[in-house]
């Protein structure tokens, strides 16, 4: 990659607004082109694809993985990885539902507890990685197993249903024609953008991914930043759990198996370097939507589900291959 992914916003300013040249030179260009091409293909293949209903549908479906991918982006930017997001999401939703249903606590208390679970596990990951100096892939792999096991233990393997009905608003509510999960997703991305592009913390995230030792020696609190990054990932997992719980109206200890891989794919499709230091949060959003469109479009076209896996794999390879050197 020969472009600096961290200062695009400013490059844009220098170019005097959003000119075509800027768009083509931005690290977002390729993910965006990929998105457009795939959308057009899907539009040809299925008449329903471009209906407003379907677009909202895709965005709503995408929202959960897209929100998980926000935390994943922070973590990957520092050069780490978080394999526990799916399991943490499931545990957070299960415990939230369990507290409401079995302990009779109010919905808000349950939701707060769910957020607490997510952040808590994120901090656990962060402490292990930053202070324990253990490889992130192993720490979060272990956390994944632990969180899954705890969720199943807590629920005895049953889904927990019977939560207050207003919680469904988070999953299936709408404001105007826009589904609530989509609005939540947009807000979370906006906050993440500000954090990454406009705050010192964000710069430090990029710096650690670029050269951790140099960042540390120049006075960046690298351990604290890493801790925060995993805590953010736990938090976004818990937000995803909130939407999932609203969508399914139950706590599902088995939900989200394999979502970590979808979230990683979204981040990388969005142009973020897997080794850290370079990438844009908006790229991740594009990557997540691209994945969602693939799922949706292949479904709409009625393609054999087994074949869908093959096609998705090939398209991901192609997208990364084209985007690799930009």
């Amino acid at each position: 990659m020969s472009h600096n992914a961290t200062n695009t916003a400013e490059d844009g300013k220098q170019g005097g607004g959003v000119s075509l040249r800027w768009v083509l030179h931005s690290p977002l260009a390729l993910p965006l082109i990929g998105l457009i091409v795939v959308s057009i293909l899907m539009g040809f293949a299925s008449e329903n694809f471009f209906s407003v209903g379907n677009i909202m549908n895709v965005l709503r479906q995408v929202s959960i993985v897209a929100i998980l991918a926000v935390g994943m982006t922070f973590v990957i930017l520092t050069g780490g990885i978080d394999l526990s997001v799916g399991a943490v999401m499931a545990l957070s939703g299960t415990i939230a539902a369990g507290l409401m249903v079995n302990m009779g606590l109010s919905g808000w208390v349950g939701l707060l507890a769910g957020l607490g679970v997510g952040v808590g596990l994120g901090i656990f990951n962060g402490v292990m990685v930053a202070w324990g100096r253990m490889p992130a892939i192993i720490v979060t792999l272990a956390t994944m197993g632990i969180a899954r096991g705890l969720g199943l233990l807590y629920s005895g393997g049953y889904p927990i249903s019977g939560i207050p009905s207003w919680i469904s608003w988070f999953g299936i509510g709408r404001i105007g024609i826009v589904p609530v999960p989509v609005i939540a997703m947009v807000i979370i991305y906006a906050l993440a953008w500000v954090l990454l592009q406009r705050t010192p913390f964000g710069r430090h995230v990029y710096a650690i991914g670029g050269n951790e030792l140099a960042a540390k020696l120049s006075g960046v609190k690298t351990q604290m930043v890493k801790l925060t990054v995993y805590a953010i990932s736990g938090l976004t997992s818990a937000f995803a759990a909130l939407i999932l719980t609203g969508r399914l109206m139950s706590g599902q200890p088995n939900a989200g198996v394999g979502f970590e891989l979808d979230a990683i794919a979204a981040v990388v499709l969005g142009g973020t370097a897997i080794a850290g230091g370079r990438g844009l949060i908006l790229g991740t959003l594009i990557g997540a939507v691209l994945l969602g469109i693939l799922n949706n479009g292949l479904n709409l076209m009625g393609i054999n589900p087994y074949l869908q896996d093959v096609i998705k794999g090939l398209i991901i390879l192609l997208a990364i291959y084209i985007g690799r050197e930009w």
Binding site: G53, G157, P159, G171, L248, A255, N295, L300
Partner: protein
């Protein structure tokens, strides 16, 4: 094996599904009555792990093996190993190849057939239907076969889509949303199990369309949803607890010296709809 107590091992194809969890509960209750020791393992849909689990249980000296195979063919070597140690082997829910003493299982093909017949009748014998498939294991594949056989009997019914919801509520939800988007005239959906059906139900309710839903299992949540009325109209219930109870009884009979235990005990499935849902539970 310990001389005094009876030791029962049961290996499940998965344990994060209420269907199998309730089997386990019935087993525990029965074993407590008998004063028997129980070992339970979870294969997580992995036959290789299931064979290992059986090996481990044989090491512990179990007397009875209740086998809920992830795959009938794949598990065969474990059956041979168990028989080589004179352990009584009862296959539960799905059959296993090899010298199994008894197979106690529900009729998955029938279950698929009945659900889809109910569905086809409910939509008046004509219209578009779709199948929400699941993890490709034999019982699920049989349900799909049964379903297709039933649908074939109705000339007016067309199967327009088959998608995989992986029996997971969250996955099924998205997949069914897409189905509904792409088939404007969809009138009915058959889900291969209740887990997927609950996701499908949320998608149907979210769309506000009139689509009928049937399924297989009889899980408490599904039964509750059917009792409420709404899109979810039927599930063909299996009897997981009874399967374990009968299976264990067969094994005990043999343990006590019975020489002519039935080699196969089919457990019927039964249609649960709004009329009888309130009174049903596993």
């Amino acid at each position: 094996a310990q001389e005094d107590g009876l030791k029962i091992g049961m290996t499940f194809q998965e344990m994060n599904n209420p269907y199998f969890v309730s089997m386990q509960e019935a087993l525990m209750a029965a074993a407590e009555d008998l004063g028997a020791e129980v070992v339970v393992t979870d294969a997580g849909h992995d036959v290789a792990k299931q064979i290992s689990d059986v090996e481990d249980m044989l090491t512990q000296g179990i007397d009875i093996l209740l086998l809920n195979p992830t795959d009938s063919a794949g598990i065969e070597s474990a059956v041979h190993m168990a028989k080589a140690q004179d352990v009584i082997v009862v296959a539960v829910d799905a059959n296993a190849n090899g010298p199994v003493d008894t197979f106690v299982g529900s009729k998955n093909r029938d279950a698929g057939y009945q659900s889809c017949k109910y569905l086809a009748e409910a939509i008046g014998g004509e219209g578009e239907v779709a199948i929400l498939d699941g993890i490709p294991v034999v019982p699920i594949l049989e349900r799909v076969e049964g379903c297709k056989a039933a649908l074939d009997e109705f000339d007016g019914v067309t199967l327009v889509d088959t998608q995989n919801g992986r029996q997971d509520r969250s996955v099924a939800l998205g997949v069914v949303e897409n189905m509904i988007q792409s088939h404007q005239n969809l009138a009915g959906i058959f889900s291969v199990n209740d887990g997927g059906a609950m996701g499908a139900l949320a998608a149907i309710q979210g769309s506000g369309r009139d689509i009928k839903l049937t399924s297989v299992d009889g899980a408490p949540e599904a039964v509750a949803a059917i009792a409420e009325g709404g899109p979810f109209i039927e599930t063909t219930a299996q009897f997981p607890r009874d399967q374990v109870r009968v299976g264990l009884a067969m094994a005990l009979a043999q343990k006590w010296g019975a020489r002519v235990v039935p080699s196969e005990v089919p457990i019927d499935v039964s249609v649960i709809d709004a009329e009888n849902a309130a009174d049903f539970s596993w």
